[in-house]
Symmetry: C2
Subunit: 167 residues, 2 copies
DNA sequence: TTGCATCCGGTACCCGAGTACAGGCTTACC
DNA sequence: GGTAAGCCTGTACTCGGGTACCGGATGCAA
């Protein structure tokens, strides 16, 4: 292998990487804190110098986000990908995530149906609707779905901070 | 009209209303701060005494939440319902909300398709996938959908606080 | 060498819908 | 009167994914 073409003579500066990956410079430091980006080499003065591969890594992170993974999950997937030979980790995660997405779609479809009913019936007030056979009281029967309209706060065991470092 | 049956002799205590409506007592005070619940009468000692209708109001709020409305929207709908004769406000809001819900469902369906593709192809790593014709790079093409997986932060003009009082 | 752009770490803040806790007061019952 | 339960206000915290701002240091070109 020959040497790579010189990339900004020694690495990418924070703003160069940010521009190349389409994120803000603050986001890079945020990802570093979260453990998604390894701490890069520094100049003698303390400025970060990223390797060219960092651009690809950031694209991968964004792709995984688009698939519905949280940054914590992305970090874990990247970690398990680094540590060992290919296992089923990604696949398993994807299957679980798919299930999650399906559940959320179902909840939203329930809402859509109820909302369409309210529109169709011509409801004109939450409290004193004058429409005949008003469906509003029946909306009260269904539970409030988690995760979409209201934030889903169950299944969160450990307290965490946005400024934590990686384990 | 005869007098209502005595309800706890003068009104509902905070915990009585909370229990009757299926919410926490703190939530009642939170709703009061948000302007969803009017400030109730107090005992000489400063304890809140709610009218019996408050239970119904809370059920209405919960029903509206189930339809996908935020508390701000619910507050507005309740307000416009109180101020004037039935207008199309609720209907208009519901139509807009329905559109919102549909958009979110579409985003989630895009994610679902991509995720199913990843599972079907048998991807085993985010960074070094060994599967043939890996779909992962193509995931990078679609934009990150707002509102669902990542929080939607556009279209927020005014700064607001959770502890504000109603206007 | 001067001047300006960029970068540094640290902290605080945003969204929504609550929840949690501290320290003090009131109410109700015995 | 004593005591326990409930209520009060006020503040801080949760989730996730970043943003915004600060004072100070560094990098680079003219």
């Amino acid at each position: 292998m020959h040497r790579d073409l010189p990339v900004s003579l020694g690495g990418l500066r924070t703003s160069e990487l940010a521009t190349a990956a389409g994120v803000k410079t603050q986001t890079l430091r945020y990802y570093e804190r979260r453990g998604l980006l390894a701490e890069p080499v520094r100049t003698p003065g303390g400025h970060r110098l990223y390797p060219a591969e960092a651009v690809i890594l950031l694209r991968v992170i964004k792709a995984a986000q688009r698939l519905g993974f949280t940054l914590d999950e992305v970090a874990e997937l990247l970690d398990s990908g680094r540590r060992c030979h290919p296992t089923g980790a990604l696949r398993e995660r994807a299957v679980v995530k798919l299930d999650e997405i399906n559940t959320r779609i179902e909840h939203l479809e329930t809402i859509r149906t109820a909302l369409a009913g309210v529109i169709e019936a011509g409801c004109d007030s939450l409290t004193h609707c004058t429409c005949p056979e008003c469906p509003l009281p029946f909306v009260a029967i269904a539970p409030i779905p988690p995760g979409d309209v209201n934030l889903d706060v169950d299944a969160i065991p450990s307290r965490r901070t946005a400024t934590r470092r990686r384990s």
